[in-house]
Amino acid sequence: MADLLIALALLLVAAAATAAVAVREPARQALALSLLGLTLTLLFTVLQAPDVALSQLAVGSALTPLLILLSVRKARRRSLDQVRAEQEAEDGR
């Protein structure tokens, strides 16, 4: 029974990790990463490592995706504004 749970959790981790690598869009990748954190939490729990699971849950599925989302927002806004500024410069010519 325990082995079955571990195998199941490992499969979920593998699927979530593959998704995190396959997704190309940064904002969606943050979501996939959050899902990976959740499946890793599950794996650590069935492996009877609740301390690590708790860290993984807090950092891996909440904090890291949030930091990525905030960075994406900042980077995207800057690039959008740059495009707009370049267009305005061309129009004015």
Binding site: S55, L70, S71
Partner: protein
């Protein structure tokens, strides 16, 4: 060094690492068996120092110096973030407009905020008894505050989050760990040795210095995460480059 030679050096190094790993793995106890050579010793030490959570005993008693290094890495990382993400001369601060929050989201976040905060503090305080400890509880408590950003808006979050105070708290948590370690020197023992009375097994006051170090880490991590998120939020919400329009 030519490219060819470099590849040979790399290959030599990789072979060495692979051989060492395989040799080590061959002598590991089989997966899922009842014998745990390291675990047995760690648990014996944990019980000798009346710490119910053996993982906390390893982190804050048997390998407390190691944890000091880990704590300092986080401290240095946050310090680096503060320096790198400060407002530069060609940037300006704008006041973000409040966004409309739907009533169910607001209710859900406002109900969960105190629950999450108490859960975080509970995890810190019971680190020596149940799974968790300063690091995990600190992160949970710090993320709890940010539910206010989800429930109300950025300005509400800023009001309960005086960032200077949290920066001081971050440093104070780091210092408290160092001072607790130095106190053992005054007691005539080794740095970070567990010299306090060990107390009664499985009670809040057990484990000697373990709960103290847990509290220090909890304070450091909670403040560090708040400062870290504040810097990232500032960049994403408030700080704009000169000439940008909102």
């Amino acid at each position: 060094m030519s490219r060819r030679l470099r590849m040979w050096v790399l290959l030599l190094g990789l072979t060495g690492v692979a051989a060492t790993l395989v040799t080590a793995a061959l002598r590991l106890p089989a997966f899922g068996t009842a014998t745990h050579p390291y675990g047995d010793r760690a648990v014996r030490e944990a019980l000798a120092h009346r710490t119910a959570n053996a993982v906390a005993a390893v982190n804050f008693d048997q390998r407390a110096f190691d944890t000091l290094g880990e704590e300092s890495i986080l401290f240095a990382a946050v310090l680096g973030t503060v320096v790198l993400l400060r407002q530069a001369r060609d940037e300006r601060q704008v006041t973000p407009a409040p966004a409309r929050v739907s009533a169910p989201v607001r209710r859900y976040a406002l109900v969960l905020l105190p629950v999450t905060l108490v859960t975080g503090l509970y995890i810190v305080a019971h680190g020596q008894l149940t799974p968790g400890g300063g690091f995990q509880g600190g992160v949970v408590a710090a993320t709890a505050l940010h539910l206010l950003y989800i429930a109300v808006d950025y300005r509400a979050l800023e009001r309960i989050r005086p960032i200077g105070l949290f920066e001081v708290g971050d440093a104070a948590g780091e210092a408290a760990y160092l001072v607790t370690g130095a106190a053992a020197l005054l007691a005539g023992s080794a740095y970070l040795a567990n010299v306090l009375p060990h107390g009664t097994f499985n009670t809040l006051a057990s484990g000697g210095t373990v709960p103290l170090l847990n509290a220090a880490i909890g304070m450091e991590v909670a403040c560090a995460v708040v400062v870290l998120l504040a810097r990232f939020l500032d960049q994403a919400v408030e700080i704009e480059e000169e000439g940008e329009e909102q």
